[in-house]
């Protein structure tokens, strides 16, 4: 059996959920994987392209997100992103 890979191999940093509960108790670094954790990450739209938007997550890292499944979005919208694809716009369920 192989040794466990480094966390960075498990999922890129923008899938991490970040800070521990409120008072900052000492939970280890987050280690979600996108499928097994059914992870959706909240990202804010920075720029728009045709079927994609440049979005930033809680860690500030920007990435391209496909927006085909949520219809029209505008800069400043907050999207729920899973596996590089927006599946819902926050505050306005699809």
């Amino acid at each position: 059996m192989s040794a466990r890979p480094a966390r960075a191999e498990c999922a890129p940093g923008d899938e991490r959920r970040g800070e521990p509960l409120g008072d900052g108790h000492g939970a280890p670094a987050d280690e979600h994987c996108i499928t097994c954790g059914d992870v959706g990450i909240v990202m804010r739209v920075l720029e728009l392209d045709r079927h994609a938007a440049l979005c930033a997550g809680p860690d500030g890292v920007a990435q391209s997100v496909a927006t085909d499944l949520v219809g029209a979005v505008v800069v400043g919208d907050e999207l729920l992103v899973h596996a590089g694809v927006a599946i819902s716009a926050l505050g306005a369920p699809a």
Partner: protein
């Protein structure tokens, strides 16, 4: 960040815990199952179980798609990854899942071109960049992930890609839920429902749980206050003898889900007659394959896969953990022969697997008194 910080407030968490304590009926033991691996992870990471009264028991369900994939399909993936000139792509969580002898990470170390991707769209990009190579994406996940695969295949078809294909392991949540509810060994009082699956399919899909099985379900978000509030909503339903689908995760979930996602899934996928679930056996109509219109992108048609069936390791009790019959630490190999570094069972491989979540966050907090 908005929608995150306010759902991690410790004082509000304590207040919700107090409300749960006040709402729970004294002397009544409540057994609640969280279906989704993301909830399992949040419960352990934030020690939410410690905030609950002793008579509210959380049971961890089968909602980790990596945890339920049978060994035979992992062996098929490894055999495919070893094909000369082929680029095999998958999510990072698949790399360490043990087949009968090896993992995809082992195959990669031995020279197979296995690449981790964050999105199926990244796999399609790799195919564009490597027109001389076959590029296969190993698709896995529930209804949350299936739309991203469907969208990718739709784009591949529109672009006329000929070197891209997909091994489809997407599973659907309702059939295993029914299998669990039909299981005589399971006595559950209610469910914390999968919020992100419901973003796609809507809460409507879960209305059979109260109507046919008489159990309440609350569709929940994944931040700690989401989970606590969902447990409170469940406890209140049970206390008031109500039984319905409630939606805690209203900021992204509606009753009808995401129609665009459902439309693209309907175009690209069809139900498999049967699919093997680790620990749960074969369940009818519980997984997706590519529709005839997308047959040219089906790696199972394009390549000659061994298709072997491999029994689960005898020492491993993942099946009983997945059904909530035993707790992770009650498995005979938990924390000894089976650890995240040397996993025997899939529940220990995935960080969202119940065993790994408990191993990483909970094992030092509670004695293994039940062993």
């Amino acid at each position: 960040m908005r929608y995150i910080d306010e759902f991690r407030d410790a004082q509000l968490g304590q207040a919700l815990a107090g409300e749960i304590l006040a709402a729970v009926e004294p002397g009544r033991h409540l057994k609640l199952m969280e279906i989704c691996g993301g909830h399992t992870h949040a419960i352990y990471k934030y020690s939410l179980g410690d905030l609950l009264p002793d008579n509210v028991e959380l049971v961890h369900g089968p909602g980790c798609p990596v945890c339920v994939i049978p060994m035979g399909r992992v062996d098929d993936a490894i055999a495919l990854a070893r094909t000369d000139g082929l680029i095999f792509t998958c999510f990072g969580d698949m790399l360490r899942v043990p087949g009968s002898e090896q993992t995809l990470l082992d195959a990669k170390a031995q020279g197979a071109d296995v690449r981790m991707v964050y999105s199926p769209l990244d796999a399609l990009r790799i195919a564009r960049e490597n027109p001389g190579s076959e590029v296969v994406f190993f698709a896995i996940g529930f209804e949350t992930t299936a739309p991203s695969t469907a969208l990718t295949l739709k784009r591949a078809k529109a672009e006329g890609m000929t070197n891209f294909s997909c091994v489809c392991n997407h599973v659907t949540i309702v059939p295993p839920m029914r299998a669990l509810l039909d299981s005589p060994e399971l006595a559950l009082d209610g469910f914390v429902g999968p919020g992100h699956v419901c973003t796609v399919v809507g809460t409507r899909l879960f209305e059979f749980i109260p109507t046919e099985y008489g159990r309440p379900i609350v569709i929940s978000g994944f931040e700690p206050l989401d989970v606590l509030q969902s447990i409170l909503m469940l406890v209140r339903q049970l206390d008031e003898r109500r039984c319905e689908v409630e939606n805690q995760y209203t900021r992204v979930v509606s009753r009808d889900g995401n129609p665009r996602a459902l439309e693209v899934m309907a175009e690209v996928f069809e139900l498999r007659p049967h699919f093997e679930w680790r620990g749960l056996g074969s369940i009818a109509h519980s997984a997706l394959r590519l529709s005839d219109a997308y047959g040219e992108f089906d790696a199972e048609q394009r390549f000659d896969l061994p298709g072997v069936s491999v029994a689960d390791p005898q020492a491993c009790q993942c099946g009983e953990v997945l059904k909530g019959v035993i707790k992770p630490w009650e498995c005979r190999v938990f924390g000894t022969a089976c650890t995240p570094e040397h996993a025997i069972g899939t529940c220990m491989v995935s960080p969202e697997g119940a065993c790994a979540a408990y191993y990483n966050y909970g094992r030092l907090a509670a004695p293994r008194a039940a062993v």
